[in-house]
Amino acid sequence: MASPRALRSGAGRDPHAPVTNLVLLKLLVSARLRSQLAYRGSFLSDVAGQILLGLTEFVELYAIVHNVSSFGGMTFAQTLLVFGLASVAFALGDLLLGETDSMSETIRSGKLEVLLVRPLPVLLQLATSDFQLRRVGRLIFALAALAAALLFADIAWDPAKVVLALITPLAGAAIFCALFLGAGAMQFWILDGRQFANAFTYGGRYVASMPGAALFFPIQIFFTFVIPATLVAYAPSLVILGLDGPAGIPAWTGWLGLPAAVVLSGLMLLLWRAAIKKYTGAGG
């Protein structure tokens, strides 16, 4: 982790200090943040827009639950927990790798070649070059929703549930990062694949933020064991709330978030490497 020495060299005190990964990362991220602050007006309206977007999704959910009193076997506060967990996970994933979404533009404009002739992994450059601060707006809203849910849903806490509640947003973020990565990689093959890729990322978010029991059975299976969207929030929520799941998403899947994140990330990283190889013509 951050050694005091590395931090000091980052501040430019010792001009002879070697460039550590941490120093480089700080430089890349801070450059990105400053870039975004260059357009203050548009930045602020973006942040506001992202909060509004989160709010709209919330109102949609509220409208459903308000009218049916129980949505997929869940009360409003319980639904809010699913929504909050999913939103935090998505916001974090989007913050880190959201721009792989527009990979086809990066390829078409030739920007990818600029990234390829630098001595850094392309993925690291993409993650830092597109660290979209405005997406923080979404994260702020998501955290507020999650906090409210944890407060209002009657949860009988025990140590295991506390651990799960802490792991879940991070594992979920990793799952969304992996989905974004896969969406980016896909666009190396399907140059106009942005819309198709969005089906997995934004579609995954939509599924993740609603009670899985409300889904059609085969869809439950698909979004649990193929695209692990329900593992992001719904399945862990079942465990935290002490509920039984529907047939396609049994409650024990609540603990599958982390392993699913590891497996999916691994697979998507392989796909990404294959995509870069495909671009350079080195493989496949």
């Binding site: 060299s9 430019g12 001009p15 002879h16 200090a17 070697p18 460039v19 120093v23 480089l24 430089l27 890349l28 450059a31 400053r34 870039s35 975004q36 260059a38 357009y39 404009s109 030739g110 920007k111 070649e113 600029v114 390829l116 002739v117 630098r118 001595p119 850094l120 992994p121 350079t280 013509g281 080195a282």
Partner: protein
């Protein structure tokens, strides 16, 4: 040891072309076919050819962006694609059309990041940056966001960025495209000085004949994916029979080409503007512009004149025309 070694290098692409209303057929396009060349450290080589001749494909194979279909390529002792990141520390690349600078930040903010990417401590990159900024006159616009720079300013910034890590080889893809005369000249002077002082090898693609004249002792002409010519520029003009064109505006109209006296070897090309504007072509190896002008002035008063150098496209076309006949 040569800095670039290319042997029997080929690259082909599979493209789909329509065959009938719905069917599509795979077609193989040979972008580069079996080229060989060697570049020694410190050389300045112009890599020229028409659009689609295979220049960019070659550059991509040299920089590790594209794998060759067959053949061997070695740059700074590396195999470009598998050793892309190691190679990136030894070479600098400038893509004329794309920026490697941070678009929304002041120009000076890009250099610390690039320095860090190349793992250069501040004590290492900063003096180099100050040296480059001084030579390229970046001073007055260092605090301007890159997106607000003029093309000429930005290109100077780009070249400085590519040279920050003291690469052994700098590859420039159309560095002077779209620049005005003064910016072009500044850039050329700088590149020439950089090569002389630091021994940096230079490989550039260009459409501008004067880039080659000012910078390169050696020209590689690529046509249809193959090397059509490799040698000094003067030799290329010999092979291709380069002609210059002088356009004169006369003080009073002269309506017939015969009324204008021309030295032997100069050819009257045409009359415009009702006898005012005449163009005359001549071989610069046999006649000087002064001789041509003196001859014309002896019969008519010259009000204005301009000289047109043969462009590379034209030379290459000539070269190929003569090689194929």
């Amino acid at each position: 040891m040569p800095i670039i070694e290319v042997e029997e290098l080929s690259r082909e692409f599979q493209v789909m072309e329509p065959a009938g209303r719905f069917r599509r057929r795979k077609k193989t396009v040979h972008a580069v076919r079996g080229i060989d060349f060697i570049v020694e450290p410190g050389e300045a080589v112009g890599y020229i050819g028409a659009n689609g001749a295979g220049k960019s494909t070659t550059i991509k194979m040299l920089t590790g962006v594209l794998v060759p279909s067959s053949g061997r390529v070695s740059v700074c002792g590396f195999n470009p694609v598998p050793q892309r990141k190691a190679l990136a520390r030894k070479i600098g690349v400038v893509f004329g059309q794309r920026s490697q600078l941070w678009w929304d930040l002041p120009l000076q903010d890009s250099y610390p990041i690039l320095g860090a990417m190349h793992r250069m401590p501040e004590a290492d990159w900063k003096p180099r940056f100050q040296e480059l900024a001084g030579q390229m006159d970046l001073g007055e616009f260092l605090t301007t966001p890159v997106r607000q720079l003029s093309l000429g300013q930005r290109m100077r910034g780009e070249v400085a960025a590519a040279l920050l890590h003291r690469p052994e080889l700098i590859i420039l893809d159309e560095p002077t495209i779209g620049l005005d005369m003064i910016s072009k000249e500044k850039l050329r002077q700088f590149l020439d000085a950089e090569r002389r002082e630091n021994g940096t090898t230079l490989l550039l693609t260009t459409h501008d004949m004067s880039d080659i004249q000012r910078l390169c002792q050696r020209v590689l002409v690529v046509d249809d994916g193959a090397i059509a010519y490799d040698g000094p520029l003067t030799g290329l003009a010999d092979v291709a029979g380069a002609v210059r064109t002088m356009v004169v505006d006369l003080a009073a109209p002269v309506h017939s080409a015969d009324l204008l006296s021309l030295p032997d070897g100069a050819v009257h090309q045409g009359i415009e503007a009702e006898g005012i504007r005449h163009s005359v072509s001549f071989d610069p190896r046999k006649l000087s512009a002064a001789t041509v002008l003196a001859a014309i002035s002896s019969t008519a008063e010259v009000a204005d004149l301009s000289l047109h150098e043969p462009d590379i496209e034209h030379l290459v076309r000539q070269l190929y025309g003569s090689a194929r006949l």
